[in-house]
């Protein structure tokens, strides 16, 4: 879907992005993680030409982005940024409807689309449509920012630290929302973050940037299992690797026949959460249920084995 071939960008003598080649498959989520100044935001902004590459090419669906006028290119790519960047003088409905209006949709279609999106983000349209951004909470502003990016159903969504300003509880819910919506529309997402946990949790693939270079690009499990450099290891936090791996996996594949005492845990629980529950409730095995039906049990030993390195 998105192809970056030997892309570099310099500002004066400073090379911010240095010869990066990457490929994002259609419908996948690529998270780009790195410290501040690693060039991850610049890399993202080269995809929709907010920054032009000094060298290399960016292709979307096989087509060089330079063959499309920048404003038309951007109308077809969702863009959500930290601090939401909502237009403070426009209402929620006007903010969400800005791209459809630029695309020349008729008024009724825009209104219907705005209401649909607000509903999707659990915001009552009647209540929120005519509010100004200043009258919203941080979490609501963030959701409106993502809703605006998705308004014209773009095949690609670029996100720059979209959850950076949120408190942990709202951030967790916003991530779940994003995953649900991504599954629903099949949107290809490139998400920039400095938070490795977020990158591992959201990404199908994780790209690690350091000083403008792409250090490693791998699936979350592969990244944890075999960090390509000491820098990636440091970003992963060193000591927690086993638990990071466990939080990527769910208990479903570990279920074995048999009974176990106590309240069942639902299928889809992460291995890490299941192990924590097993330790906390002093049970060597936990029953696993789906929709109220007991599927079997999962043992602590099986859970523990998931934390082992390759």
């Amino acid at each position: 879907m998105i192809d970056l071939a030997h892309v570099s960008r310099s500002f004066g003598a400073r090379t911010v992005v240095d010869d990066v080649s990457l490929r994002v498959e259609a419908g996948a989520i690529l998270t780009v993680v790195g410290t501040s100044g690693s060039g991850k935001t610049t890399l993202l902004r080269m995809i929709n030409r907010l920054v032009e590459p000094s060298a290399g090419t960016v292709r979307i669906a096989g087509r060089d982005v330079r063959s499309v006028p920048p404003h038309l290119l951007r109308q077809g790519i969702g863009y959500a940024i930290q601090g939401h960047g909502l237009f403070p003088h426009r209402t929620v409905a006007e903010n969400v409807g800005v791209v459809p209006r630029l695309l020349g949709w008729d008024r009724r279609r825009i209104a219907a689309r705005v209401d649909e999106l607000l509903g999707l983000f659990r915001l009552d349209p009647a209540l929120y449509r005519d509010r100004l951004p200043a009258a919203l909470s941080g979490g609501e502003q963030q959701r409106i920012g993502v809703a605006r990016a998705l308004a014209a159903e773009p095949p690609i969504l670029l996100m720059d630290e979209p959850f950076g300003a949120l408190d942990p509880i709202i951030r967790g819910r916003a991530r779940e929302d994003l995953l649900a919506i991504q599954r629903r529309f099949g949107t290809t997402i490139v998400l920039v973050t400095h938070d490795m946990d977020e990158a591992l949790r959201l990404g199908d693939r994780v790209a690690v940037m350091d000083a403008g270079r792409l250090v490693q690009e791998a699936s979350p499990a592969a990244l944890i299992g075999a960090p390509a450099s000491a820098f990636v290891g440091a970003l992963l936090g060193g000591g927690d690797r086993a638990f990071q791996l466990m939080s990527l996996r769910v208990v479903d594949d570990l279920v074995e026949p048999g009974a176990a005492p106590g309240t069942p845990i639902p299928a889809g629980t992460s291995v890490r959460a299941a192990l924590a529950e097993s330790l906390w409730s002093r049970r060597a095995a936990l029953p696993v249920s789906r929709d109220g039906v007991i599927l079997g049990r999962v043992t602590r030993a099986a859970l523990e084995a998931q934390g082992a390195g390759p």
């Binding site: 601090g83 939401h84 960047g85 630029l102 605006r148």
Partner: protein, 403 residues
Amino acid sequence: MGETTATLERPGARRLGAIRPGLDPLGSVFAALIGLSLLTLPLMTARPNRIAAGESLMAWSALPPGRVLALGVVLGLAAPLLVLRIGPRLRVVAAGGALVILCLAAGWAADHLTLPGDRYGRVSPDAGWWLGFATAALALGDGLARLSPGPGIRIALLAGSAVLSGLALRSGFWDHLSILREYASRSDTFGREVRTHAGLALSSVAAAAAVAIPASILARPVPAARTALLSILNGVQTIPSMALFGMLIAPLGWIGRTVPGAADLGIAGIGAAPAFVALFAYALLPVAAATVAGLDAVPEPVRDAARGVGMTGRQCLLQVELPLARPAILTGIRIVLVQNIGLAVIAGLVGGGGLGVFVFQGISQNAGDLVLLGALPTVAMAGAAAILLDAVIDLGRGPERRR
């Protein structure tokens, strides 16, 4: 416990017109000034003719006994009310009452002190009247500010008071006052000078906005151009107005003589042209500075988002940047409009017309009332322009952000 009491008291305390215990500090100052002005300073001056020395009269000698009583009763009620902690509506009524009775007193005194058939005698307000009037006007403004009316109501109040003052002036009630005698002998030119004055101020501001706003939009993103623009305009601002007129005589005179059709447009070394150019030049910097500041204040994420959703540079400017900068730009225009209405008085010096004509005639003839005939309408115009533009700026903000 204390909190509960406060909560219980609130509905009563908020009711407009209710009197709470204690003294209002600002109101006390107003009341003291009104009392002092009437009791220790002369209310009116009476002169046998326009330039003779006058006789200052205290309120009780300037008015017939019945009117003195009326003035005393109204001010005697209004001043103590202003001292107390009363609701804003009652405050407006008290201050408005004081203002009205002072205006009536001026008319009564003029009638009382003018002998029947006397066409040379001059009766004009003296220090006590002016101080009392200014204080009552401030108290009224303070009361209105405490009511914090919406922009629509402020415009309606302004229009209402303009119509009422116009009708009152036409009624002939104050015709024996000296300033209206000056008006009577110049009524043929007064309207024209007011129009010239307003026209000079408005057209110079409009021209300055038409030049400075686009120039600032173009120059702002380019550091060198932006610095150059603002420093040139800063330089213009430091030239004293009289010097600017002097500097304009030669070039404008040359244009008037040599460029075909320029003289027909009224371009000459003296007259309206240099006045317009000077007012225009002085208006450029505030408008440009306000535009640059307003655009600078647009948050970077908002600008980034505008480009990111696919707006062209023009769409970003028209749909995002200018609407967000509009309150700042309008505030700049409000400042220069008020400034230029005042500054347009100097047009009278170079034959440009306007209310300055009366001011400078009055100064040269040592006739203070003629100066006032030029100065008071200027002050009224500037004040009205300030109120009107403030209301317009508020209207543009929309109801939700005003709160």
